[in-house]
């Protein structure tokens, strides 16, 4: 029985792919068939979740806990390189496929309500199904190339969905930005893959990781380079410094897309990759420190920007970047289970926050549509007091806010606490980790502050919506609130996955992931903390979170806010934060403009116009015309001349023959 459930592993990615094909066909032929599209789009996800759950149950019944690799066909047989198209189910990918299909199914269901009136309904679901397919390929691939296919595929779907409403320039630009920035990271992934092949002679996960310890001396230059290149890929996909700038712009896509791709699943691919390659990173202490340091710095940096954003989705976008930083701090510290734990809980509460904000935007958008207003439906200055109209959304989002802030007993508390404790413990071995831990704590303070700010401005205080618009505000239909409630439940209970022994728990997830992380743990042993220190850390973290929340409640005055179109410009530090530390402007000046200048003035006007077009294309035309002119002088049109030539030719041939 377990075997047969596992044999159906291919169904898990195949179902969303079938959904993409069917919905894609409907989008081309009958875009109005919304009922069929919803049925297919949500149905394949539910079935995929069932298949994934079945496969995981089948896997859990196996006695060994060793990875199960299913080979389907030979994909790239090139000389020494033998890449099979193979899927691998182990305990890490088991967690990932459950999160991807589970949260994915809820978000698909939410989309049925959110996108209902959109003319591109079928196209939307086709893209969304395709994304889930690629994401499952990413986490189920048994080798680097198969994973890379998924890695690139989710990037493609991200691009398609960010620019979903492509008839507005800003959306199309945001899609392009995401795609191009991700390409920079993908180069790193590719280089790392090729270096790994050269060093170990294989690209299968199992082979590479088992040979790694024998091939690479710990802390060697090669393994450090490989892991740093891998991490470059992660900074692109998972929006870390310095490649994070695409994620806030990605909020131009539909809100459920932000929830699924840009919060819960795709952006966590980098964390998954580092956890998957834990052995390699454990062999390269410098690279691990870079991962943890970049993570901690990103967590703090993004949190400062989130303090001053007015667009509700941008706050959540920077919050996502910040939380991803925590995950990298975890996996960089070697606490892979903690990083994956935070990945899972973050998927729950961040998806809830995004879908909640989608519910708010949906309500405001409808109200503006009814009253023909043209205000920004995403600007928090235009909201206020919405808890009366959207009671379900408000209370569920409060749960998620308390979870992300790290208050017990919600999901975020356990996962964030575990990461920070691991970082603090690592400080005893390598003191730089104390600095990372301090940054993490500071980010936690800011997180509690900006999330409370978001809730205050959106749901509390005076109502800044127009009087007539307010009459049209109402809670979303059940297809939208239902997934919110489900995610709320997960946010409340998700922490139970991995309760630390401090609170009498058994760290279930930690033990579940043991076979995957054991090899890395042996190389980079975790540092034990005393009970008293752990209690102090936990209480400190909770105190910081509470301080952030109460600070926001005391300091912020929703009464003083005015609607966006009346708001005065920001000044001082607030303006710097509102402008996102001018990082986009910096990149524009340092990278984008020089590249554009080089492309326009040198590559286009000199290389292309002069060299390629002028010399090569027109030059060969001129040369052949000149040759033709010489030849055409022989064509006098006079028969006599031809005869003369003919006779001369005959004489020449005869002369040669006689001689």
């Amino acid at each position: 029985m377990p075997g047969s459930l596992l044999d159906a592993l291919w169904l898990v990615p195949a179902l969303p792919l079938a959904g993409f094909v069917l919905n894609g066909a409907l989008a081309l032929t009958r875009p109005g068939a919304k009922r069929a599209v919803s049925l297919i789009g949500v149905g394949v996800l539910l079935l995929a979740f069932a298949a994934a759950a079945g496969a995981v149950v089948g896997f859990a019944r196996l006695p060994s806990g060793e990875p199960v690799v299913q080979r389907y066909w030979e994909w790239l047989p090139v000389g020494d390189l033998q890449v099979h198209f193979a899927l691998q189910l182990d305990r890490l990918s088991a967690v990932m496929i459950l999160v991807v299909t589970g949260v994915g199914a809820l978000i698909h269901l939410f989309s049925v309500g959110y996108m209902h009136d959109d003319p591109g309904y079928a196209r939307y679901f086709a893209y969304l199904n395709l994304f889930v397919f690629f994401m499952l390929m990413l986490v189920l691939g048994a080798s680097f190339p198969v994973m890379f296919v998924g890695w690139e595929g989710v990037g493609l779907c991200s691009y398609l969905l960010i620019g979903f409403w492509f008839n507005e320039q800003i959306n199309a630009d945001a899609g392009k930005k995401a795609f191009i920035v991700n390409r920079i990271g993908d180069v790193g992934f590719l280089v790392a893959m090729l270096l790994l092949f050269r060093a170990t002679g294989s690209l299968d996960f199992g082979v590479v990781f088992s040979r790694a310890a024998g091939t690479f001396p710990p802390g060697g230059a090669l393994i450090t380079a490989i892991t740093l290149f891998l991490f470059l890929g992660c900074t692109g996909k998972s929006a870390q410094i310095p490649l994070y700038t695409w994620l806030p712009d990605a909020m131009q896509g539909p809100t459920p897309v932000s929830a699924l791709i840009h919060a819960a699943t795709m952006v966590t691919a980098g964390v998954y990759l580092v956890a998957r390659c834990g052995v390699l990173f454990a062999l390269a202490p410098v690279a691990s420190a870079v991962v943890a340091g970049v993570g901690a710095l990103t967590a703090l940096f993004a949190a400062t920007i989130a303090l001053k954003q007015w667009d509700i989705k941008r706050v959540l976008a920077y919050s996502t970047i910040s939380q991803l930083g925590y995950m990298f701090l975890g996996v960089g510290t070697g606490a892979h289970a903690a990083g994956i734990f935070h990945l899972a809980t973050h998927a729950f509460f961040k998806a809830l926050l995004f879908l909640g904000s989608g519910s708010v935007i949906h309500a405001l958008h409808h109200a503006y549509h009814a009253t023909h207003a043209h205000d920004d439906a995403q600007d928090m200055r235009n909201m206020g007091g919405l808890r009366h109209q959207l009671p379900w959304t408000a209370s569920l989002m409060w749960i998620a806010t308390l979870a992300i802030s790290g208050l017990p007993p919600l999901a975020g508390f356990f996962s964030k606490d575990e990461i920070l404790s691991a970082a603090f413990a690592q400080g005893a071995v390598r003191p730089i980790w104390y600095a990372f831990w301090a940054m993490g704590i500071a980010a936690a303070l800011l997180t509690a502050f900006y999330m409370t700010r978001l809730m205050l401005y959106t749901f509390h205080g005076p109502k800044r919506t127009g009087e007539d618009a307010r009459a049209h505000l109402h809670e979303a239909p059940w297809v939208m609130t239902g997934p919110l409630v489900a995610l709320g439940g997960l946010t409340l209970a998700g922490g139970a996955l991995n309760v630390s022994p401090l609170f009498g728990g058994g760290t279930w997830l930690h033990r579940w992931l043991e076979p995957v992380t054991a090899a890395a743990d042996r190389l980079q042993p975790a540092v034990e903390l005393s009970r008293a220190t752990e209690w102090a850390l936990v209480l400190g973290a909770v105190a910081v979170a509470a301080l952030g929340i109460f600070g926001a409640l005391r300091l912020l005055k929703p009464e003083a806010l005015v609607p966006a179109r009346l708001a005065p410009p920001e000044t001082g530090l607030g303006r710097v934060l509102w402008k996102k530390w001018y990082v986009d402007e910096l990149y524009d000046a340092v990278l984008v403009r020089p590249v554009m200048w080089l492309s326009r003035e040198v590559l286009w006007k000199v290389v292309d116009a002069r060299l390629v077009d002028g010399l090569l294309v027109n030059g060969s035309a001129v040369a052949s015309r000149a040759l033709g002119w010489v030849g055409s002088r022989l064509q006098t049109g006079e028969v006599g001349f031809y005869v003369v030539l003919f006779v001369i030719g005959v004489l020449a041939v005869l002369g040669a023959a006689v001689r």
Partner: protein, 98 residues
Amino acid sequence: MLLGPALLVSAVLFALGVAGVLLRRNAIVIFMCVELMLNAVNLTFVALAQRLGVAGQVFVFFVMAVAAAEAAVGLAIILAIYRHRQTLNLQNINLLKG
């Protein structure tokens, strides 16, 4: 016997034909020179047939048959050209100039 003089005559006739084709401008004269060359070749065939067997004489009939056909087609073309251009001077007929 007499092979040498016979070949000499045919060579002279052939050279006259070539010279005529090269030097004259009138299409009909050129045409006649071509016939002259053909007949020079015929004379060679007949002369050599004495030594080399009867095949040369048989070839002469083929050449005469082809020459007759060529005369029919060639004269028709010349007539057509004359109807179009009112002249047979080949210097004026140079539509194939490149």
